[in-house]
């Protein structure tokens, strides 16, 4: 896990970025929940969602648990259809007949890395499964792409023969990313990809996603309830509350200048909001100095 320490080119990309995924006035409600209390509260219903993910950008989606983040991911992956409104991919309306082609270009990374892997199939087979399924390739023909995919996520070849329960959560999440990458997609939809991982591993995955975005021009939809990781990775942020978008904008607008009380209260409640800056610089083993506490100016 070493690559340049240079910050991602967030702002240079902005000019050239056009929408790649777009939700227009999307409404959605789970059928089973229609008559339940959740509907009254608006919990299980998505209401008039408008959202744009731009090419080459990382778009963050935050919101408390149950606010509908995963539901948006499901809609975008074509796992369920909206009750009203449209979803556009690359300017084209997403329709059932275009789904198969669409899925080659938009791939998911899920929250629990181990659950997203079949517990009884070796890792290597699982990574190349999308190729076998989509292109009827033989396993032997996939080896080059497999090698490329695993090296892109920083895994070594010895993991390929293992079973999911023999690897760690961080490795499993990398495997998931590798499986998504093997189809060479344009968009990764990451539904809380780091929430189940612990601090140090979370950092590894965040770095990896950031690298991939830069090196491959991948667009990312990054869903999380952890403001810190969204803040780290994304240049645009949408805030969701009970199925509606309450705030949306660039990272700085949302974090530094929240418009809504809700967002403000979220930011306030983050314990020790200054943490992460103090020791953030690569330090020698025993530097006892206390890190800078002033925020760097936005560029």
């Amino acid at each position: 896990m070493t690559s340049s320490i240079e910050p991602p080119h967030v702002y240079t990309a902005r000019a050239s970025s056009e929408p790649i995924l777009e939700l227009r006035n999307v409404d959605f409600c789970y059928p089973a929940a229609r008559r339940s209390a959740a509907e009254v509260l608006g919990g299980s219903r998505l209401h008039k969602i408008n959202m744009i993910v731009r090419r080459g950008k990382a778009h963050g989606l935050i919101g408390e648990s149950g606010s509908g983040k995963s539901t948006i991911a499901k809609l975008l992956l074509g796992l369920t259809a909206p009750q009203s409104g449209q979803i556009f991919f690359d300017g084209e309306l997403l329709r059932p007949d275009r789904l198969a082609a669409f899925r080659l270009r938009v791939q998911p990374v899920f929250q629990s890395p181990l659950d997203a892997l079949d517990p009884i199939t070796p890792i290597g087979k699982q990574i190349i499964a999308p190729l076998l399924v989509n292109f009827n390739m033989k396993s032997s023909e996939c080896q080059a792409r497999l090698a490329a995919a695993i090296s892109a996520v920083g895994l070594s070849g010895e993991i390929l023969g293992k079973l999911p329960h023999q690897i760690s959560g961080g490795q499993a999440q990398r495997v998931n990313i590798a499986r998504a990458l093997i189809l060479d997609p344009e968009v990764l939809i990451c539904d809380e990809p780091v929430s189940a991982l612990d601090m140090t591993v979370q950092a590894q995955i965040l770095n990896l996603l950031s690298d991939l975005r830069e090196s491959r021009g991948l667009s990312l939809l990054f869903i999380s309830h952890d403001i810190r990781s969204v803040a780290y990775l994304c240049s645009e942020i949408t805030v969701l509350k009970r199925g509606s978008i309450v705030e949306s904008g660039s990272r700085d607008e949302v974090l530094l200048d929240p418009k809504t009380d809700y967002m403000k209260s979220l930011l306030e409640a983050v314990p020790n909001s200054g943490l992460g800056l103090e020791t953030a610089s690569p330090s020698k083993p025993f530097s006892r100095q206390i890190g800078r506490r002033d925020l760097p100016a936005e560029g």
């Binding site: 591993v201 770095n207 314990p271 953030a280």
Partner: protein
Amino acid sequence: MVCSEGGIMDQTSSHALEAPYARTLEHGSAGRPAIAAGSAPILSITGLTVVLAEQPETRLLDAVQFELRKGEFFALVGESGSGKSVLCSAIMGVASSELRCLGDIHIEGRRLSDVDRRQRAMIYQQPSLYLNPVRRIGFQLRETVQVIDGLSKKEASERAADLLRDVGINDPNETMRKYPHEMSGGMNQRVMIAMALAMKPKLLIADEPTSALDVTTQKQILDLLEQLRSAMAILFVTHDLGIALQRSDRIGVLYAGQLVEIGRADLTARTPLHPYTRALFSAVPPLSGRPRRLHSPAGSLPEPTQRQAGCNFASRCSGTLDICQHTRPALQGIAQQLVACHNLEA
């Protein structure tokens, strides 16, 4: 910003954490109760080793040793799988019977097996597993109150309602009529907390009690614990370094079953001594500021079955010495902290 005078901490001198002292850089020190200085520790653990009953060479915990005093808030942090929950359940005496606990755990100077169970209470990590799914919340809470306080049914109901109010449930009577499955994870978590508080324990073990809660409720619970802490010792397990730093008196860092660092919260955050602690703190993404690369050691926690003789962190450490490969470092005092690392130039 005042640091209390602590003695040099090592294994022989018990932690002489005395007098009021500030916790974190950000937080003011107002209202922090005193830790009874010099009093006998409420919890003292020596050489706690937990092994698998079937493979005694596999150590989930390795010679863990620390003490807790009345009024103290001790945050235990560490990677997932490092053994935090195992430690908690060992102290509670509810460890799965596949595990075997060696070493001594004393509560108020008495051996665990002789201690009244009411002295300690635990908030479990997964509340839904620890609540009876087919009994109403009210029943379970009232039952506890009845058994502990010997109250009548009516009194017990009232007391239960009070407890629920304390943990931030606004409509306790409504809640008491519900079943665990009818409530969110956060609500259940709060019920667990109320139940633990109903025991009026001397030692409260909280295993990630707030990870299912959203940030605002989390704050509420933490404030409640803050109020109650003067009467008890709190062992608080968390992943959130923010909470650890903000609320605790001391932080303990568990890595691969070994306590690798113990120290005052502010000191630990500011000057982490163990490379893992350092890695931990630097892996936290900053909330604001220009995004940079996060620092994180490569690799992951070794599984309990694959731990080698040497330092558990050696494979991920950038400053390994030869000795790291074959000798496991012991906790030793460096300034006011305790750390288990060979590569210390103090």
